[in-house]
């Protein structure tokens, strides 16, 4: 998340080689929450949202201010302020192994409800009180059930929406029509809901132009991302976990388009001049699926001290490319089709590769394309969605790259109590020895 860790890190080393683009994010995030708080004062409509639900453009076209609650939880974790909210959630009856983001978010709103005011000293001024809650089914169950659970503290109107993830072995051409139809209906339901909540009518021309702008934004990000295949790698995963913020939370903001153009220019310059994240890049690592340990991000720099750079990752991925068909003029249809094509792209490639599970396919592709010498995955106690399947990925990697070292780091996305620095460092020491052996024999 776009933050500096509140305590520590003494051993921080990455910033020197961090991109300028990443350096801008802290201010962008601060501004984002400030704007949301101002919008509240101006009586504009605020929605609690989840990332990657495919509704960003629609909300923008309806002038609804988007507040991303998962990421607020991440922000609290980075600042090591999450615990107070988790404790609150547990005190009002939620399990200590419930999704950590949901614990933080529910704890935050339970506390606000109890006080009748913003919880004291909330990071970045806190999330403004929402006028609507917009969950979606893609990714995991907490991403819509969390908002339902807030019904305990608020009478805020909810629209929970289906975003489909087709099964890995589907006959994609056969299911396309009804998958797209359902998605489009869900989006139309959202528009009707928003029209009711805001008293405004959707401007479909505006929506179309926002959809186009978003596509352009993504193209720039993708172009920038491709540059990380270069040796030495011009940008690390540490920066990736910062620079994804505009895309995920300010997708429709024109600033975001400029941001990724700028990122591309910066990385291009680095590549042209062979400037890497570290001076002597010995090893290239992949951060595999798993939300990072927001509470202790500096641990990634420890790998760097061995001469290793995280050249790619499969967390907070850029959406798959999408060719906009010219014959579809209805932006809602377009978004629905885009969601289907994107959410089935890796499945399709995995199927074509002879039945590689999609999650593993994403890893195999990066291992090859980014010249990877080792994979690190993060088992997080309170996020099953990004954890279940990691062993499967490891097993598949073993089938395709029998000697490639894979390390499982264990802690949590928000709960720092679950994390042991000494143990993790020991693990990394051993892992890096294996990476060294692998690299010598394979590159």
């Amino acid at each position: 998340m776009a933050e500096e860790t509140k305590t520590e890190p003494k051993q921080k080393t990455s910033s020197a080689k961090s991109t300028e683009s990443a350096g801008k994010i802290r201010q962008i995030v601060k501004r984002m929450y400030k704007k949301a708080q101002q919008a509240k004062e101006e009586n504009r409509k605020i929605a609690y949202c989840m990332v990657m639900c495919n509704y960003e453009e629609i909300l923008e076209a309806m002038d609804v201010v988007q507040v991303y609650t998962e990421n607020y939880a991440g922000l609290c974790a980075v600042k090591r302020e999450a615990e107070q909210y988790m404790k609150k959630a547990q005190a009002v009856g939620y399990s200590d192994v419930l999704c950590g983001y949901a614990q933080v978010g529910i704890g935050f709103d339970a506390w606000r409800h109890e006080l009748g005011a913003m919880p004291p000293d909330a990071p970045d001024g806190g999330m403004p009180e929402p006028d609507m809650l917009l969950g979606c089914s893609m990714g995991c169950d907490p991403r819509w059930k969390w908002y339902q659970a807030l019904g305990r503290y608020k009478d805020t109107p909810i629209y929970n929406m289906e975003v489909l993830m087709p099964p890995s072995d589907a006959d994609f051409d056969a299911i396309r029509a009804y998958y797209v139809r359902y998605m489009a209906e869900e989006l139309r339901g959202l528009i009707a809901f928003l029209e009711k909540q805001t008293g405004k009518k959707m401007d479909y021309d505006r929506l179309t132009s926002i959809v186009k702008q978003v596509e352009e934004t993504r193209q720039w990000w993708r172009k920038a991302y491709e540059l990380r295949k270069a040796i030495p790698c011009p940008m690390s995963t540490q920066d990736h976990f910062v620079i994804f913020v505009p895309h995920h939370m300010l997708l429709t903001d024109p600033m975001t388009l400029d941001f990724y153009k700028g990122l591309y220019q910066e990385l291009k310059e680095r590549v042209d001049n062979e400037i890497g994240v570290i001076d002597d890049e010995k090893y290239r690592l992949l951060w595999g699926v798993g939300i990072p340990p927001w509470h202790s991000m500096y641990i990634l720099d420890y790998f760097q001290s061995f001469g290793a750079v995280f050249a790619a990752e499969t967390a907070y991925m850029i959406p798959e490319p999408f060719e906009m068909p010219y014959d579809i003029t209805d932006p809602v249809e377009l978004i629905a089709l885009r969601a289907f094509e994107r959410n089935s792209a890796i499945q399709r490639r995995g199927k074509e590769a002879g039945g590689v599970p999609p999650l593993a396919q994403a890893h195999l592709e990066r291992i090859k394309d980014f010249t990877i010498d080792g994979v690190v995955m993060h088992i997080t106690r309170s996020c099953r969605a990004a954890t279940m399947g990691q062993i499967l990925v490891r097993n598949v990697i073993r089938d395709y790259y029998p000697r490639l070292p894979v390390m499982f780091m264990e802690s949590d996305i928000v709960d720092v109590e679950t994390y042991s620095e000494a143990e993790t460092k020991n693990q990394i020491d051993t892992f890096m020895e294996m990476v060294d052996v692998y690299r010598k024999s394979h590159r």
Binding site: G93, Y94, A149, R181, E185, T387, M388, G389, N395
Partner: protein, 381 residues
Amino acid sequence: MAKVAQRGLIKAQELYEHRQTRAKELAKKGKKVIGYFCSYTPVEIFTALDLVPFRIQGKVGKPVEQAGQYLESIVCPYVRSCFDIALGGELDFLSGVVIPHTCDAMHRLYDIWKYHLKPPYSYSLYVPHMTHQASFDFFQKEIENLKTGLEQFVGRSASEQDLIKAIGLHNRSRALLKELYELRKPEPPLISGSEIIQVLVAGMTIPIEEFNELLEDILVEVHSRNPSAENKPRLLISGSEVDDDSLIRLVEECGADVVMDDLCTGSRFFWHDVDPSKEAIAGLAERYLKITCPRTYRPGKAAQRFNYLGDFIREWKAQGVILYTIRFCDTYQLDAPEMMDYIQSLGLPVLFLEDTYITSPLGQWKTRVEAFLETIEARRE
């Protein structure tokens, strides 16, 4: 008469204790048995194609042997247990598996199951999370797809008539089960909660025709009982997968009657009929999306969402509720506090239990159950 009537429950108990016996026998005779998970799999489709539906269940209290190499320790322990059993080869008699995308664990289990166990047939059924009109239309398509896939697998097709016949058989089963549940209403109930679990679990492992016959025998037997009133506390148990009778037995041994349930392996499995006046697939989509499980979004506040539980409590005169969840299950954990609020708003005490399933915490629960029953006793006085 008494002798004949005894047969049903004993048979159910045998099937419960040896859950794979009958299915294996049928597989040996050449029948295809399809394993499935969850109350959301429309098993009528299997029946219509002369396939035997077999609900995959775990083993409470049995440590996992091999699953650790395939499933992370923070995964739903029930799912880990099921997968461990499959890895051990116990389910090799299955011709295929249907895993509905209901919760995150089920959704992700599909790829893991398929990659490592390579079943001859497998299908991941997307069950919509929402209940908009479009969700029902979509679900119909998914069910049709499941049917087509199975038809291709077995090399024959199921006509509308076949489906209607299968629906009739399953509706008949539901009617018999409801009749059995009626016999839990008297004071004292004519059938215990642990017997009910055995009957239901048994039924999930045999062809529907055999289950219906078994239920008819059991009904005669239970009707003929004439227990004397002991005025024990009457409890309802709500939660997810209780495929083992040990918890309910423990509660009953502690001196309560478990008279009603809201479980995946209980009423949730059979409560709603398929509307026979509808076109078969449409009726199935409507029936299965109606299931009241936390994994499906039903709009409204707690009082609206859980009112069916209030009806159960009133009609079965429950005096307390056990809320049972499995650790690492987000969907239940996110509903549990509101469910507790709701039950307490009806004036009933609730005991919240979080199960680790594989290492059953039964021993620690005994004291909590006893204390809970004392609370109810005190209230009754």
